[in-house]
């Protein structure tokens, strides 16, 4: 163990020379050993052969700082998970197959530890609970207490997978934000720019039962807050306006759909917002009513009339909402 106390003791010529040579050897080998040197100096280097890292004393000589790995390999191809340790600091991990990467505890890795990941387009790896599909390049940094993603050059990072993947990614407010909607087995894409929990912007698109949902995160003094999911479009090839089998009172899920009715339909107040629309098709040989729900003003387009409307057999009406309490209705067979 080439370490020395850096004190040349009083002795005869040969002993002094041996002491000097031992001191020089300790300097040349960065005080390497399985344990730290006994005598510590400001800025002293120490190659920790147990942890596989070169360490340095800070300027005050009050603490060690990990500086670099003692390994030769800085660029590593990995086809499966091998836990990343202190000695892996500053390395590049090039994934060649799909696997879930694990890390040693942040307190062990220490403040300043980081690794870079390269994920080719044919590969998807799970890092910190998030599935990252290639092509992607990012780094993972440790502050001694937690780990965080940092996209390369602040480029947008896109992650995708099932909603279960997202709920495990640390974005644990997901299920709370999906008010009234199932959260399991959604397909989603998460686009985020910026840094880890300090994302400059985040958008999330999710696809579930033929409907595309959108939400974005806002950032305030309390941190990131996901806005509620908004149903933005249907996603079913060849179907621009999907049908709905709702009977009785129209539901929030009928937004953007055509209710195929054989009996009267009530349009409720306070369910839809400005810009929402839906249609009603009378799939019967008799007239049906399109009724103005309590609190709603249902205007007949092109007239001053409000209130309940009649929809003749095979007639079709479109409703557009100006506000949660006001809708305009128009269509063929509508009186």
């Amino acid at each position: 163990m080439p370490q020395h106390d850096y004190v040349i003791d009083n002795a005869g010529g040969a002993a002094v020379r041996a002491d000097l040579n031992a001191a020089l050897l300790a300097i040349a080998t960065a005080n390497s050993g399985t344990a730290a040197p006994a005598a510590l100096f400001p800025h002293m280097r120490y190659a920790d052969t147990t942890a596989g890292v070169v360490r340095r004393r800070n300027a005050a000589n009050s603490a060690w700082i990990d500086v670099e790995s003692t390994d030769n390999d800085g660029y590593i191809f990995r086809a499966s998970n091998i836990m990343l340790l202190r000695a892996d600091r500053d390395k590049t991990i090039h994934a060649t197959a799909t696997f879930a990467q694990t890390f040693d505890a942040p307190a062990t890795l220490g403040n300043g530890w980081w690794v870079r990941f390269i994920v080719p387009h044919t590969v998807a790896i799970t890092v910190l609970g998030t599935l990252v599909r290639g092509p992607a390049e990012f780094t993972v940094h440790c502050d001694g207490g937690s780990m965080r993603f940092v996209p390369a050059d602040r480029a947008p990072m896109v992650t995708s997978g099932s909603m279960d993947d997202l709920t495990q990614s640390g974005l644990r407010d997901v299920s709370d934000a999906v008010t009234g909607k199932p959260v399991a087995n959604w397909s989603h894409v998460l686009i985020q720019t910026g840094h880890s929990d300090l994302w400059a912007a985040q958008w999330n698109l999710a696809y579930h039962t033929d409907l595309l949902h959108f939400r974005r995160a806002i950032h305030d003094a309390t941190g990131r807050v996901w806005q509620p999911w908004v149903e933005v479009a249907t996603y079913a090839p060849g179907r621009i306006i999907p049908s709905s089998a709702t009977a009785g009172t129209a539901q929030a899920a009928d937004r953007g759909r055509c209710i195929v009715a054989t009996a009267g339909v009530t349009i409720p107040s306070g369910v839809y917002v400005d810009g929402d629309s839906l249609a009603v098709y009378n799939n019967s040989a008799a007239s049906i009513a399109v009724m103005q729900g309590a609190g709603l003003t249902l205007r007949l387009a092109g007239t001053a009339s409000t209130g309940n409307r009649a929809l003749a057999q095979r007639g079709m009406a479109t409703l557009w909402f100006r506000s949660p309490t006001e809708a305009i209705i128009t269509g063929a067979g509508l009186t």
Partner: protein, 80 residues
């Protein structure tokens, strides 16, 4: 609590950690003090953590040095 009402929060006073030296300037321990008023001239507020063993390192020019090494250097200076 009404909208706009600010809830009062009892914030504990910030504690100060500082390395303590003896009258020779040798490291003794790290003290945790209630306030800055309790700092003495033998405290080093810039050194809130220290992994050195007590009574073996002396503070010279902004850093800790091994006491034995410093004494030997001093003796060598005196002899030359």
């Amino acid at each position: 609590m009404k909208l706009g009402q600010v809830e009062s929060i009892d914030v504990p006073p910030a504690r100060i950690r500082a390395a303590l030296l003896d009258d020779r300037g040798v490291f003794v321990r790290v003290d945790e003090l209630e306030s800055a008023e309790q700092l003495t001239q033998r405290h080093l507020p810039d050194v809130p953590e220290c992994d050195l063993p007590p009574n073996e390192y002396i503070w010279i020019d902004g850093a800790f040095w091994p006491l034995e090494w410093a004494q030997r250097i001093g003796a060598d200076h005196a002899a030359t």
